[in-house]
């Protein structure tokens, strides 16, 4: 097994030292059991911070700083030489923790990739080039003649991003567009016949794609090893730690209704008014009004309702009644029939991108101020609280804005904050039931 260390090739000219590991293979290091858990928890704090940052819609520069701050705060080690080991060990421990379900893998993959991206960005360009060569990327720089032929377009792309024109000695790589999906998505590259022209300053995307695909495959393999051997071998030692660690971030599973059992169709309008968070209330009202929701809305509301405990028969009846008036029920059936989806978390809802005719997403993030004010007023939020809510929104604390709304509507504190629409619902029902209980 090869150890991934910071001192890489030891050619005399190679003075570039990066402490950014690529995690290509597990380290043959001895780890004390308590470090195993402590390191993992420290890394988890970093990843949680990254994922919160992303869900607040932070800009890349802000994310870069955030990543560095989080690492500084959590990944230090009393012995400086041990920091890289801690980095590597904690990564591999969390691989074990997060390899076990699709949902866990997805979260780990996207946050680890984001972390890697911002760490790579903060490296010097020499260090970046050194890291790039470690990935063995098969790309050559674009020749002068070719550069001349597309120079004008490359300039157009640069200026469309508010950058200056590329100079004659600018280095560009020509790669299949599939390798730089993030640059394609943001229209930050010139595309010609299936190839993207990637500027030197953008190679982070290429490297990240490699990192991501390597990690994605590795997680599947780790999962196989976990189920076939490790879980049994380690059932008294590592397995309990691993299992406890995963729930410490992802929180409870809302896909199965628990506390309040089942909700019947006749109560749903009443319950929507009292206990749905604004995102679901909005979807619910739009559905009642227009008898139609587009895919994103159907998924967001449908899975929420499932988590809330709307019985399957009732749910089908409800959707059919709404949809039949416009498009027929068949489209709904095929979506609701998928029962392996879990209700969307706030993070997922906040990072969605509703388009024309869509009503899903997080109103605190996706509504204009005017529309948000109107919606909050309809929920009965007072004008003073409304200013506090909007203040949170302006600072991109969407979940805090939702928490304030919850507190205002229910007249009681919500200490944990709102992390999930189904949690909002459960907390709301708890408060309402205790109120009813005390009256009765």
């Amino acid at each position: 097994m090869q150890v991934v260390r910071s001192h890489r090739k030891s050619s005399p000219s190679d003075v570039v030292v990066s402490t950014l590991p690529l995690y290509r293979s597990a380290p043959p290091l001895e780890v004390r059991l308590e470090d195993f858990e402590l390191f993992a928890l420290d890394r988890l704090r970093v990843l949680k911070g990254i994922s919160d940052g992303l869900s607040r819609g932070r800009k890349p520069e802000e994310m870069e700083k955030l990543a560095m701050d989080l690492l500084k705060a959590n990944m230090r080690h009393p012995q400086a030489t041990e920091e890289v080991n801690k980095d590597i060990i904690s990564h591999f421990v969390l691989r074990l923790v997060y390899c076990r379900t699709e949902e866990l893998r997805k979260w780990f993959l996207s946050t680890e990739t984001a972390l890697f991206r911002y760490r790579f960005r903060s490296e010097s360009s020499e260090a970046q080039r050194a890291l790039m060569s470690e990935f063995n990327l098969p790309y050559k720089a674009v020749s002068n003649a070719e550069f001349e032929s597309v120079k004008e377009k490359l300039g157009q792309v640069a200026r469309s991003m508010g950058q200056s024109l590329p100079t004659a000695d600018a280095v560009y790589y020509k790669v299949p567009f599939e390798e730089v999906p993030d640059l394609v998505a943001a229209r930050r590259v010139f595309l010609l016949k299936g190839h993207a022209y990637v500027a030197m300053s953008q190679v982070v995307s290429l490297v990240v794609t490699q990192f991501r695909s390597h990690l994605s495959k590795a997680l599947i393999l780790t999962n196989r090893k976990w189920t076939s051997t490790i879980r049994d071998q380690e059932k008294d030692r590592l397995a309990p730690i691993v299992e406890a660690l995963s729930s410490s971030y992802l929180g409870p599973d809302y896909s199965q209704p628990k506390e309040f059992g089942e909700i019947s169709l006749k109560d749903i309008d009443q319950i929507a008014r009292t206990s749905f968070p604004l995102c679901m209330r909005h979807l619910f009202e739009k559905l009642r009004e227009e008898h139609h929701l587009k895919h994103g809305g159907r998924m967001q509301l449908g899975l929420f309702l499932k988590g809330v405990g709307l019985k399957l028969d009732d749910a089908l009846a409800f959707w059919k009644a709404e949809f039949a008036q416009k498009v027929g029920a068949e489209r709904f059936d095929k979506e609701y029939a998928y029962n392996d989806y879990t209700p969307y978390s706030c993070q997922k809802i906040i990072s969605s991108t509703p388009g024309v005719g869509d009503h899903h997403g997080c109103p605190y993030r996706h509504f204009s101020e005017e529309n948000l004010r109107a919606a909050l007023a309809r929920m009965g939020v007072s004008s003073r609280t409304m200013e506090d809510v909007l203040d949170k929104v302006r600072n991109r604390h969407y979940q805090l804005a939702c928490t304030l709304t919850f507190e205002a509507v229910h007249g009681s504190p919500c200490d944990t904050g709102i992390n999930h629409p189904n949690q909002y619902f459960i907390d709301s029902q708890k408060i309402l039931q205790s109120k009813n209980g005390s009256v009765a």
């Binding site: 699709e102 377009k153 157009q156 792309v157 200026r159 469309s160 991003m161 508010g162 567009f177 599939e178 999906p181 993030d182 394609v184 998505a185 943001a186 229209r187 010139f190 595309l191 010609l192 016949k193 299936g194 190839h195 196989r224 909005h282 587009k294 895919h295 994103g296 027929g328 029920a329 068949e330 059936d333 095929k334 029939a337 991108t353 509703p354 388009g355 024309v356 005719g357 869509d358 009503h359 109103p363 996706h366 509504f367 204009s368 101020e369 529309n371």
Partner: protein, 466 residues
Amino acid sequence: MTKEEAENGRDDMIIDGPEQANAVPDGFNANYLRIYYGKLFPHADIFKWLSYGNDGKHPACDKSYVGRREFSFTLENDIYIRFQSFNSVSEMENSIKEKCPFKIDIGPVYSVDPAKRHAYAQSGDNVFTPVERELIFDIDITDYDDVRYCCTGADVCLECWPLMTIAIKVIDTALRDDFGFNHILWAYSGRRGVHCWVCDGKARRLTNEQRAAIADYFRVYKGNENSNKKVSLPGLVLHPFLARSYTEVLKGFFEGKLLSNQNLLSSEERYEKILDMIPDASVTSELRGRWQDNKRSSMSKDDINIVRWEQLKQVLQSGKQKAQGLRRCVEEIVFSYTYPRLDMEVSKHMNHLLKAPFCVHPKTGRVCVPIDPNNCDEFDPTTVPTLSQLLEELNKGGLRQDAENGMFILCNVIYPYDGWDRTSLAESIAFFRSSFLQPLLKSCKEEIESSYNTKLQQSKNNTLSW
């Protein structure tokens, strides 16, 4: 025909005799559809397409390929049957004829035969997963309701259809020139929009993330009625793709068609909507002043929409506004009113279903015919063949019964003529074959051969070095 006859007369309804041959009432029903599937629907072509050359004799053909494709049927009373699969064209054809689906959807190619997915599920490890799928786009005119005044909802007319023409031109050009795709099929959705199937091998093998990237590349129109700004074009200049779309398609359609077609500036309510998009009170009040006073003072023959648009451009593009970046407003307005609006979800995920071409839309009775992107200006949704029209044509031709020895040859396979050759479907099927299917199958064959040769070469090299 009375209702009773329609219900009972399944088999003999159109062979009533020459006098009644043309009397096929408008509409859509299972009996008509049964005849359509029996005589007109191009089963062989659809199956050939979805086989992508894997039904050939070459040793590198993947025999299991087409059988792993999901078909999904929607039956008459909204019964939905998913995860159907067929190993041969006759299996598919028989099933379609027997079940007579109101709608046929095509899903992805899975890792295993979707009809047997439960058997595989036993073995754990999540082996039932989509592995290939055309890159698809679904554009629906209902998404343009805030920028068209002629129709709303599911209705379309020749005044608003140019919005779909624009979408085809913009997306088709980018798919070919920017992304390098070649095998692209556009089809009328039968009612209110268009579908696009990108069928190149590398398009079918895109990951969800790559699909999402392409969809986002096309996404300009952000937000919705709940949020604020709809089109925002930051930066000093437009990205080359947007710049090309603007100068080659959007500008011309906006100024030459939509401005007058949709009367975008004729009334106060409508021009206020456009003035809302200009974030400068002095400019908007200047224009508003001119347009309110101007009670057709000139009484000229010039279209008031065009006159006002020229005034707006002149004010926004005058030297003094240029510096303030207001110039971009003209482009933002044009983009808002013309730029394609995609149903993003459909394109982003491999497992979305899309209605098969040549289906008949149950509400309109119109066939989902292919659209030629090079001549999409001429496409007229109001003259697309309807089910009843086709049956009428079939009746006329069917009496002659002389098509028995008619055969056609496609890629060395002989198919019987089905009967569509004398109907208005002939042109659509001929186009499907010559412009889409044949070039596609040719390149599939090349791809299969070249991948085989590469493998052969590799194994040869390996033996040599060994």
